[in-house]
Structures are given as structure tokens and as C-alpha cells.
Symmetry: C2
Subunit: 181 residues, 2 copies
């Protein structure tokens, strides 16, 4: 269960309310590439973590808004979780990757259709990330400002890799698709 660590990580960047954390999971890079959660998981978890002393309410605003920040205990917990050996119970579960693996079960013609879609989608995503990177200029430092640079670069390389794989796979399959040259 990594939700508390994801929350600690986001709060370590800057204090936030449950509502803002929810938005971050919905729209941010972390929610897109790494971990997802809805508000119905986040609110109870924040209360639990506050009870455990990992986070604390640092501000109360309008409409019952409570801004949380990481406590020293929370920071320590996050650090040891990140530094501890992978101890991997690693349950991978990625629908997109599953689809890619199962392509072999399709006729080559069908598989190529899907692969072309993957190639187009990943190329578009990669182009978008390249545009964002160019706009922001070369990275001059990575700090508590956010995951932006590391995340963007990671996403870019990931998309490029999948794109290259899809193009390669299409080449492998096309001879079978068009045996009559």
C-alpha cells in the first residue's frame, strides 16, 4: 500500500489540502504516470496519517478546508521508504502494457491496427513533452519545486521507448500481414 507515501511525497513538495491532492492525482504528472487515487481514498488516509503523526494540519481555511504538511516523522518515514531496498512485492498492473502483450493473440492485420494506434499516440505524447521541455529551457536544478523536470524527462523517454517498440513490432508483423509482396 503506497498511497500514504505518495501523499507524503506530494506534501513534502508543498503543503496542500485533500482537495488539492485530489486534483494533483487527477491532472498532475504523478497521477498520470505513477499513482492514482480518488478523494474517497485520500480524505480517510489523511485523517489516519494525521493520527499517526505523519502529517499535521497547518492551516484551516474557508469551507472547512484543512491544509496538511509533513511532520518530521513523516519526512523520516518517506526517506526510509525511498532508501530501503526495493523489497519488491512489486505488483505490476498496467492495462496498456497488458494490451501490448496480448497483441500476439490477434491476427497480424488486427495487431498492426492496434500498434499503429499506439505508435501515433506515443509519438504525439512525446512531441508534447518535448515542446514543454523546450519552453522551460534547460534544467538548471532540481529542488523541492516539484517533480516537473524529472517527471517530464521520464515520461518522454518512456513514450519514445514504447513508440520505438511499436514501430519495430509493426515491421515484424507486416511481412505476415502482406505475404504477397
Amino acid at each position: 500500500m503506497s498511497l500514504p507515501h505518495a501523499l507524503l511525497g506530494l506534501l513534502a513538495v508543498q503543503p496542500r489540502s485533500g482537495y488539492e491532492l485530489t486534483k494533483e492525482f487527477e491532472a498532475g504528472d504523478l497521477g498520470r504516470y505513477a499513482w492514482q487515487a480518488g478523494h474517497t481514498s485520500i480524505y480517510p488516509e489523511l485523517n489516519r496519517m494525521a493520527g499517526d503523526g505523519l502529517v499535521e494540519v497547518v492551516q484551516e481555511g474557508a469551507r472547512g478546508r484543512r491544509t496538511y504538511a509533513v511532520t518530521p516523522a513523516g519526512r523520516s518515514e518517506l526517506r526510509s521508504w525511498l532508501l530501503e531496498p526495493p523489497s519488491d512485492t512489486g505488483r505490476v498492473r498496467d492495462v496498456q502494457v497488458l494490451r501490448m502483450f496480448l497483441l500476439s493473440a490477434l491476427d497480424p492485420a488486427d495487431a498492426v491496427v492496434v500498434l499503429r494506434r499506439i505508435a501515433a499516440a506515443t509519438a504525439a505524447e512525446a512531441a508534447e513533452l518535448r515542446r514543454i521541455r523546450a519552453e522551460n529551457g534547460p534544467p538548471v536544478g532540481i529542488g523541492p519545486a516539484g517533480f516537473g523536470l524529472l517527471a517530464a524527462e521520464f515520461g518522454l523517454r518512456q513514450y519514445e521507448a514504447v513508440n520505438g517498440w511499436a514501430l519495430w513490432a509493426i515491421e515484424q508483423l507486416e511481412p505476415a500481414e502482406q505475404p504477397v509482396g
Copy 2:
């Protein structure tokens, strides 16, 4: 919920028992990179799918062993699931990727420790996959024999991408780690 589709995909390659499917998820490429499940999920799901006519028992062996195969209805279901537009409810949840995103929350020195570990691990995995690919020779065709080739290539490119990213990230962080050149 993609477990039934993962099962359909594995059974489309060849009929198998619940026990064998469990082993495949434990040790196979699909279980490693794409989707995981334990026997306590698999057995009830197979029974449900048999009730729905997606799979059928084609053989009964010793110790109550039941070998399942995909029915035409199951094949049709798998195909339309693979061809349908991504309709992305895509709930990404990858602990390793989460760790990578949260690195920014660490001191640069700590982050570099973790990144070096990632770089070493991904380099080793990539080397292993390259070795396997070299042993099996160039791919001459992809058929119902399995996910082997597509999977190995996908894994290799994935590991190379993460490796490249980790090395890049180390370079970004090291000036901060050693400000006194």
C-alpha cells in the same frame, strides 16, 4: 477489471489449468511486466468465465486438474477488447515509478544513491534480455507460440529507457551534490 482478459490472452496461446496460469503469472513475462494475479483470484474467475461461456474445460486430469480453453465467444471478447479504443480508465499504479517521482523529495545525495541503484538494476536486466534475444536468434515470425519476442523486446527497450533516464538524472543532481568542484 482486466484479469479475465489476461486469462483469455494466456489461454488463447494454449489451453492451461488454473494451476499453470498461476505459475505463468508468477514467473512469466506477462506476470512480470503487465499483470499479476494469485490463484485465489484465478480459480473463481475461471469458474465465472466458464459460466459466461468465455472458456470451457477441455480436459480433466489427475488431482481434479481442469484444463481450460478459450471458446469462440471468448476469442471474440478478447479481440474486441484489444481493438476497442483505449477508453482509458487507465489506473496506473506502479510502485517503482512512484519511487522515481518522489526522489525529488530527497536530498540530492540520497537521491543519487537510489538513482545509482536503479541504473545498476536496469542495466543488469537489459543485459539479461539482450543475452536471451541473442540466444534465440533474430525473430522470424510472431505467432500463437507466445508473447516471448514482443515481450522481450518491450522489456528491453523499457529497461534501456529507465536506465538512460537514471543516468541523466544523476548528472543533473551531481552538481548539487558536489557544489565544490
